[in-house]
């Protein structure tokens, strides 16, 4: 199961990297979003899985899923949302003021 998750994460990282390298601001932002998903999967896989148990005491005997990665990811999800919102608004304002979402055009705008 871990191996499969890691491979899924790897594919997402590849895809995210390609998106981030593109010219379009929105694609860059989407790329960071995909990258976050990949990292979440990576943290999950690094923690290891222990079968059909949840990290809640009192359910099904004495073994529990590793709770630490889950707590880390929970934090990450919320922060990711905040940062994504910030990026989005940034892109939105950039487009409002400069009338383009093409990064190489933005660069030229800055130089003129």
């Amino acid at each position: 199961m871990e191996t499969l998750i890691i491979i899924v994460a790897g594919v997402l990282v590849t895809s995210a990297t390609y998106l981030i390298l593109s010219q379009n601001l929105i694609r860059v932002i989407l790329g960071t979003g995909v990258l976050t998903h990949a990292v979440h999967l990576l943290i999950m896989a690094m923690g290891g899985f222990s079968g059909n148990v949840v990290p809640i005491i009192g359910e099904k005997g004495n073994t529990y899923a590793d709770a630490l990665p889950q707590a880390l990811i929970l934090t990450s999800i919320v922060i990711n949302f905040a940062v994504a919102a910030f990026f989005l608004v940034l892109a939105y304002q950039v487009y409002n003021r400069m009338n383009t979402d093409d990064l190489s055009k933005l660069r030229r705008y800055y130089h003129e």
Binding site: I56, G58, L74, V78, F81, Y92
Partner: protein, 141 residues
């Protein structure tokens, strides 16, 4: 955003209350079951999003005259202050504590400082999410 669909609005009026109940349930169940401050706050915020989708901003703002920036600030303040509370009692910063009380009618009830902490988290989440959504939709409309 001016979507004046009667159906959506009527459904929203009912659904919002269900969502709010769910949010409060999730908030309190977080201690022993899935849920907690984050999810509770997020669900609460999503009910506002739904309202914004169904009605226009002016109506929502009129119905809920709350400055959500202040809500977020209040939440962040609560989080930090509960941390300082432990310092007052000579414990390390952010030490949480709990005690089980036997209250008549309700039976054994566990009260914990984590709940206050989580309340702060929820308020911040609600405040921030709604602030973000509101400020964007105000600007674009």
């Amino acid at each position: 955003m001016k979507i004046n669909e009667v159906l959506l609005q009527s459904v929203t009026k009912i659904i919002v209350f269900i969502i709010l109940t769910l949010a409060i349930y999730l908030f309190f169940s977080g201690h022993n079951n899935p849920g907690g401050g984050f999810v509770g706050g997020l669900v609460l915020a999503s009910s506002f999003v739904l309202m914004l989708l169904a009605f226009d901003i002016e109506t929502v703002k009129h119905g809920i005259p709350v400055d959500f920036k202040l809500v977020a600030a209040l939440g962040a303040a609560i989080v930090v202050i509960t941390g300082l509370g432990a310092v007052v009692f000579g414990e390390a910063f952010l030490t949480q504590t709990f005690r089980v009380f036997d209250i008549p009618v309700f039976g054994l009830i566990e009260l914990s400082t984590v709940t206050i902490f989580e309340l702060g988290v929820s308020l911040t989440v609600v405040g921030v999410v709604v602030t973000i959504i509101l400020s964007i939709s105000e600007d674009v409309s």
